[in-house]
């Protein structure tokens, strides 16, 4: 069973998002997503400064198997990206919720976080996906 930390929010497209409490949030992919993708070999990061709308495809992760789009769960401006993933994409496999974070976004509207899934909601979505 995959790990779903209780203190994070989730999107049905298998991203996690963490409210940093300073108007920014950090985004990555869930443990379930990294496990389903298999060994990651390439990450294409968004550009810092780019303005995104919620659900925009903004990054790509590629595993040994296939390429997969990453969607931002919330709208805002990209303020930081995890450059270490360019040389070490497997960091996402090793630590999806920590060192494997993908980008940080300055929220257009902090209320957006309320619309996302909480941990039990995401676990339920995973069960329904089978």
């Amino acid at each position: 069973m995959s790990n779903v930390p209780a203190d994070l929010k989730y999107a049905e497209s298998h991203e996690w998002i963490k409210d940093n409490g300073d108007g920014t949030a950090t985004v990555g992919i869930t443990d379930h997503a990294q496990e389903a993708l298999g060994d990651l070999v390439f990450v294409e990061l968004p550009e810092v400064g780019k303005q995104l709308a919620a659900k925009d495809a903004c990054a790509v992760v590629e595993s040994v198997k296939a390429a997969s789009d990453i969607y931002t769960p919330v709208g805002g401006e990209v303020v930081a990206v995890n450059d270490t993933l360019e040389g070490a994409p497997e960091t996402i496999n090793d630590d999806a919720y920590g060192e494997g974070w993908i980008f940080r976004i300055k929220l257009d509207d902090a209320a957006q976080m309320g619309a996302l899934l909480d941990a039990p909601g995401y676990e339920k979505a995973l069960e329904e996906e089978g």
Binding site: G38, D39, F42, E44, E62, V64, A67, E90
Partner: protein, 363 residues
């Protein structure tokens, strides 16, 4: 649910991720595909290939039948036990399947065909066999395990039936030894030394467990694909199929046009295609820009579409992305590949990319 090999419960026990493949439920990996890949390049890995189909061809007309059926010539087999790689073509020169054919001495041969194409292949073989004095029998009673890597043979030999240990140790590449229903071939699909072992299905689990206890790493279809791609070996259905022939798939070396008086199915079509000035080339690509090459990505020369990737992926040994591609004959030393709408530069290279653990191309 797909068919299950005699080793299915072993895969489950080892925590494999099971995926459908050619009508079978097969292990994709047992945790990390990349670690499995490295195990084969550096030590020894094992693959359940029981989904592949051995077919016994026997009878007074067996050799003549195979000389008619296959684009390569079984007359090249001069010593019993020797194996031959060949395409089986249709009348238009398209590839029905690729196979390895073992000569078992006399008028006894054993081609091994792909899982997804086995039913089609058997039907074709039987239809072609009508004019020959042969029997075509599928061997559903056999399992098959490939043990590959620099340490594969030393780890396997002590676990074989006693009668096979010495003959198997003495095998030269592309030869096989038999005892009872066991056949040990020094063949494979990884670019490493090793064996492919056919054995009675009810012995497969014990053999697999003994190999595991000897430290051989279980490997899934994922690693099998990256290993064969690094080795520059074609995958049927991806690099060639019924619409594309051997000449435009890098398999011209497997077509025996000599002797000129040997008729084989597809020969006429291939002779015509040989003469065509716009016959595409089949090349290797090494991505020099960032990204991962994947099948069906367009290959561009000066911004113009000039072919397509047939197999692509990430090479764990080279830590770069590599591909096989069918491209216009005029391609030079470099090209671009369109990845998600953007051209990314690549170098045109000659496969294999990796053999026996070593890079065979300059990076």
């Amino acid at each position: 649910m797909g068919s299950r090999t005699p080793l299915y419960t072993e895969h489950e026990r080892l925590g494999a991720r099971i995926v459908p493949f050619g009508g079978w439920d097969m292990p994709l990996h047992y945790g990390s595909q990349i670690e499995e890949h490295h195990a084969v390049r550096r030590a020894a890995g094992m693959f359940d290939v029981s989904h592949m189909q051995p077919v016994d061809i026997a009878g007074d007309g067996a050799k003549a039948f195979l000389q008619h059926l296959l684009a390569n010539d079984v007359d090249k087999l001069k010593q019993p036990g020797k194996a031959l790689y060949s395409c089986m073509l249709n009348e238009r020169g398209g590839v029905i399947d690729d196979l390895i054919c073992y000569w078992r001495g006399g008028e006894h041969y054993r081609p091994v065909v792909n899982a997804a194409t086995a039913d089609k292949d058997l039907a074709w073989m039987k239809s072609q066999a009508a004019r020959f004095d042969v029997t075509v029998a599928r061997r559903d009673d056999l399992a098959m395990v490939a043990i590959q890597g620099p340490r594969a043979r030393e780890k396997t030999v002590p676990l074989l039936p006693p009668e096979l240990r010495e003959p198997s140790s003495a095998l030269k590449p592309f030869f096989a030894a038999e005892h009872g229903d066991w056949l040990v071939g020094r063949t494979g699909y990884t670019g490493e030394d090793g064996f492919e072992v056919m054995l009675p299905a009810d012995r497969a689990a014990d053999f697999w467990r003994a190999l595991y206890d000897a430290g051989v790493t279980p490997c899934g279809l994922g690693a099998r694909d990256t290993l064969r791609l690094e080795a520059g070996m074609n995958l049927y259905g991806q690099d060639m199929d019924e619409q594309t022939g051997p000449l435009e798939s890098g398999l011209g070396w497997t077509v025996a046009l000599e002797p000129a008086d040997r008729f084989f199915v597809g020969r006429h079509a291939l002779e015509q295609r040989c003469a065509s000035p716009d016959l595409p080339r089949f090349v290797g690509l090494l991505l020099t820009g960032r990204g991962v090459l994947r099948s069906h990505q367009p290959v561009l020369i000066d911004g113009r579409r000039a072919g397509e990737i047939t197999s692509g992926g990430f090479s764990p040994t080279l830590q770069r992305s590599i591909a096989l591609a069918r491209v216009d004959a005029g391609i030079g030393d470099t090209c671009d590949v369109e990845i998600r709408g953007k051209p990314v530069p690549a170098r045109v290279v000659r496969p294999p990319f990796v053999r026996n653990g070593e890079a065979r191309i300059a990076l």
